[in-house]
Amino acid sequence: STVVLVFEAPENFQFTIEPGQYVKMGQPLGVI
């Protein structure tokens, strides 16, 4: 199963993750 997020955000939004990284629920995905 997969969860996909599609969202509008300011252009300075930055993902704080790497492809292939294992994340747990509640861990940050991005910051503005």
Binding site: T2, V4, L5, E8, G26, I32
Partner: protein, 379 residues
């Protein structure tokens, strides 16, 4: 026949110009018609494109297999088998048994219950400082900017955002966003209740009420008084402005893959309001990284629940996508939702899969960061 073949003289003669032109026109017309039909491809249809083994997999009755898998795993297991059985499953798929809410394995009647296990309170601390947190446990498959109206599945392979979110034919992504929001504008004074606590939608979304301009007017005696009517009008238009794609904003996406051993409930990744739920009863291909690399349009083909809404920065959507082993998607706030049903009819033909989609307004379901929204169940 041989005599006729050998003795019949061949007489070459020019083709009439009109006939030649008609033939060329026919060829050109066919080409244009083919091109136009590809351009007007119905967005409710997705093409199965991939190597030969993908086509073989696409012919399997995956939904039936998924339902059988679910039914099989709902059989109550004998108590003596539960501990060794679940421990074996955990060893194979790497489940962490120490973080389960109920650590007694004999309490889980079958694999379905174990698969949908809850976690201990505090097992997943929420980072409240981040703009966005992970909605589930899993591996980050891909993330980035939405390029025009296409989302990159893997490098060099993308799918249409319109198809993924379920737009009407020829509509643009911006129009979906606009339509979604304007379809169900929630009055700003409306209160939302989450876990027994009341919030205004403004506070939940983080809109700054203090910044609203107060309008003044002169009354009949020349005194300056607040203009309530102008204020209300202004607030309404401010709301509409909020619901448009704002200047300086962009569309982003992020895909998280849940492996069979992961905790299979999903939570709200931010404070937002879900306004529409769209259920697309597609196929149930595996969404493993291998399959994602093989099958173009995988996320458009698979059964999914599209939740559309807004957060403090504008449009927000979250889409749980089903797979062969986990065909059942559950939403805690929408008990009417039923996925992977036998009644959902699919039509196949010439490599195309036609799926049905159903929308439902959620009347502004407020969701707090970290709040459990639902999950994936076996079968």
């Amino acid at each position: 026949v041989r005599k006729a073949w050998e003795d019949t003289p061949i007489k070459w003669s020019p083709i009439p110009i009109g006939l030649g032109l008609a033939f060329i026109a026919f060829l050109q017309y066919s080409k244009i018609m083919k091109r136009e039909s590809e351009k007007d491809h119905d967005p409710s249809k997705a093409l199965i494109v991939g190597p030969w083994h993908v086509h073989v997999i696409s012919e399997l009755p995956l939904k039936t297999i998924s339902r059988l898998w679910g039914a099989f795993n709902s059989i109550t297991l004998p108590v003596w088998f539960r501990v060794p059985g679940f421990k074996l499953y955990s060893w194979i798929f790497g489940c962490n048994l120490e973080e389960m809410k109920d650590p007694d394995l004999t309490h889980y009647k079958n694999l379905s219950e174990f698969f949908y296990r809850e976690l201990k309170d505090g097992a997943r601390p929420i980072n409240f400082d981040a703009a966005l947190v992970s909605p589930s446990d899993g591996r980050v498959f891909h993330f980035g900017l939405v390029d025009g109206s296409r989302v990159e599945q893997i490098k060099g392979m993308s799918y249409s955002l319109n198809q993924f979110l379920g737009s009407q034919k020829a509509s643009e992504t911006a129009e979906i966003i606009k339509a979604t929001h304007s379809a169900n504008i929630v009055d700003e004074e409306e209160f939302a209740e989450v876990n027994g606590i009341s919030y205004t939608l403004d506070s939940l979304l983080g809109y700054d009420k203090e910044s609203t301009i107060e309008h003044k007017k002169q009354d009949s005696q020349g005194n300056i008084v607040p203009d309530i009517e102008a204020d209300q009008k202004s607030k309404k238009s401010d709301y509409r402005d909020e619901l448009q794609m704002r200047p300086g904003n962009a569309l982003f996406f992020c895909v998280i893959y849940l492996a069979p051993g992961d905790y299979h409930r999903f939570h709200s990744p931010t404070n937002w309001v879900a306004e529409t739920r769209r259920h697309f009863s597609g196929e149930l291909y595996s969404v493993s990284p291998w399959m994602v690399k093989q099958l173009q349009d995988l996320f458009v083909l698979n059964e999914r629940v599209v939740l559309l809404g807004r957060w403090r920065h504008g449009f927000f959507s979250m889409v749980p996508v089903g797979a062969t082993n986990v065909g059942s998607i559950v939403l805690n706030f929408d008990k009417e939702l039923r996925t992977n049903r036998r009644e959902d009819v699919h039509h196949r033909g010439q490599g195309e899969l036609v799926y049905s989609g159903a929308s439902r307004l959620l009347n502004g379901q407020p969701l707090q960061v970290g709040e459990e929204m639902g999950g994936f169940k076996l079968g």
